[in-house]
Amino acid sequence: MTLSKKKYRYIGIYLSSHLSSNKAGILEKLSNRYLGLFGSIDYSNANIRIIEIKDIPNSIVILKCRLESLTNMLISLSLIELELMIVSISGTLKQLKKKILTFLNHVSGYQKDLTFNFKDS
């Protein structure tokens, strides 16, 4: 019997200011949407987790899920009534962190010229 390694994807999500204090609430809403749309078996296979890492601001949450469930995960994230933005998706935390930092630098560098305000959209 051969054992194949399970592949995961990390999803970096930017949260509006009033969401960043309630990351567990986001996971609950996401789980409910996922369960409703794709069912409990698919949900259990997705293995969705919140990943805590240092040096990342509170406005970012990182979720981990199985590669096969990424499509369902993205749909569920996009169809919940929360002010969040998918910043990047990566197979490694190192790459994800890099992309998140690029995003944060871009936002802080151009905040003056950006028409929207992330905090009060």
Binding site: I75, S78, L79
Partner: protein, 198 residues
Amino acid sequence: MPANRNIIDLSVGFSFSDTTRSFIKKFFSIDVLGIYDNRLLDNEKDSLVLRIQNTKHGLITTKNNYFYLYYQDFQGNLDNTYGNTDILTIYDFFNTKNLLKKLAGKNIGFEFMVSKLRYLNVSDLGKWFSFVKYFYGLCKRYRHQLILSSGAKNIYELISLRVINSILDKLEVSSTEYWFDLNQWLSRKKRGLIYDSI
């Protein structure tokens, strides 16, 4: 996959500057944006499509040199639908077959807003996916174009290329084919530009 393929979101319902447009291109991978208001934008008109509501009272245009499309919200029947409408935005389920058959040959874009789906319960969402799947088949048969737009009212409601492709995947629509068809449809709609003296 064609090299000149653009990723298109034909309905962005908030005003934004050129810097924000670059931001959207970089982080959402959207090349062409459909806008209702162009007051804050000066450059790169090629990546913008001005949406003009088609009414029987005539068209009101305020800006020049934009590629434009006429749109209408579909009200459930054809009585209030005008001949030169390019996009019909669909909010409800209805008897699609007769409508699409009647409009065959007009090459209309039938648009669905993803932002509206956020507020649906799961059973209505399931119905939506089933409806749009069927609708896409009819669009193909009667030569219309299916359009998935974000319908975003703020930056958080925008959807990236990756998310649109995920939705297309669930609708059993080939994303390569969808983007190719949408680009073709849009280029066929380039009837001219508005030049006014304001």
